[in-house]
Symmetry: C2
DNA sequence: CAGCTTTATTGATCAGCATCAAAGAATAGA
DNA sequence: TCTATTCTTTGATGCTGATCAATAAAGCTG
């Protein structure tokens, strides 16, 4: 059966690089998967057997140390691509943060197909370059920013990314639900859960944000938040 | 004139994806540049006008905050590719750490040429994926490791990468010259120069390394260093 | 090789964030 | 609805790494 013709991310995922015939060819190699929140699709260090497109839901990419310290190294949304093509290992865990739907392919099938379809590889290249840019900016955040700066930048970043569901981008959202708990925010920012909680409350006290429920954030003073994000001292 | 036929990185740079005719075609679009140590080739945020291959020398990619805090987000070696194809801006500075030779192309020329040569794009994709993996591992280092762990990992990483000049990889080197001063090490690891200096001396006192001159490192006890790298407490 | 500049080391102190601990909400399940 | 569990907040304390400051060593230049 051909899921692709009804796929909601058909025109946003890398599949958009393909014509109708080619999509159905790729579609024959793909398999739908349902993931429940918390379920891990790919384990760090395991032989890289599959890659996937995210159809629905949000997933995290994470690595951890032997004593349990964890760092989230990426977050993927509907239409994003998951996995490590042309490589023998995936170096991070891929875990669903919400219930999710993904369309998986065997790595070897996908690699072969991609090599035969330059437009697909090109789309993949553009995505990978953009992700590299994003990841490099995160290095500055992790290496050089204070806790307040990290959290302010995180909130601004989220306000710009979390409007995806309806796809139409009309400026950053000032109210949104985070797909993360406090511990996950800490794992993204290289902080502890306590520090995240405290700084978030500081922002609330300063009137920069409101936190009507655990995961909901309302930005009340975006300029103020941006000032903190640039330089906590000013 | 055709530099490519005598280019020392001809078979290691992305150009290796091309046949003789195509290389000379690309070569006609390229220009040689000499850079002196400290010279900046591309500025953060500037319109992305050029990309390049590194022929000789070592360069850093860095971003900084308005108050001067800096984070090095990448280091490139001979045969590596520099710049942001298919994008309007380069998000980081590219600065020579040593005197260097690069082969530059106008972004638009390169983009056009690449789109016409899938094998070249494929090489670029493989490099970009590998660089993304490396950068993501660095997130764990910056976000979750202690100063000692950071420095131990850094030294091990350097011992594995700095043997490039002669190209033949026969295991990690136990003695090498860093292409960085202490401040640059600090900017790579998200530390201060003082902390780098102190931890390096600790390692010396523990007999893990020797530092015969400022930039020279000799690993005396690799296992010990690896133990520190994994988990400072053990 | 003298004098200057840059870079690195060493020491003292401080602050930010982590850690440890406990109480308080929210959520889920019976 | 009540209870058990999980997640979050809040408080007290301590440590790691930053900051400030001064000295020392290494490179440069003439």
């Amino acid at each position: 059966m051909d899921h692709c013709s009804t796929c909601v991310v058909r025109n946003r995922a890398i599949c958009a690089a393909l014509g109708t015939d080619e999509v159905s060819l790729l579609g024959k190699m793909g398999r739908h998967h349902k993931l429940v929140a918390g379920q891990t699709l790919i384990w760090e260090g395991e032989d890289s057997l599959l890659v996937a497109n995210v159809i629905d839901g949000i997933l995290k990419l994470s690595t951890s140390m032997s004593d349990g310290r964890e760092q989230i190294v990426g977050v993927v949304y509907p239409s994003d691509f998951i996995g490590r093509p042309f490589g023998s290992q995936t170096q991070y865990n891929v875990t669903a943060l919400t219930d999710a739907h993904v369309c998986t392919f065997s790595s070897s099938d996908f690699d072969r197909f991609a090599r035969e379809h330059p437009d697909l590889e090109h789309k993949l290249l553009e995505r990978t370059l953009a992700e590299l840019d994003r990841t490099r900016r995160w290095l500055l955040l992790l290496g050089r920013m204070t806790a307040s700066e990290k959290i302010a930048n995180f909130l601004i970043d989220m306000s710009e990314r979390l409007i995806r569901p309806d796809c139409s981008f009309n400026g950053p959202a000032n109210a949104f639900d985070l797909p993360f708990g406090r511990q996950q925010i800490a794992d993204i920012l290289g902080l502890t859960i306590e520090t995240v909680s405290r700084r978030l409350n500081d922002f609330k006290a300063q009137g920069l944000i409101a936190v009507p429920s655990r995961r909901r954030i309302e930005i009340l003073d975006r300029d103020g938040l941006e000032t903190v994000a640039e330089n906590a001292s000013q």
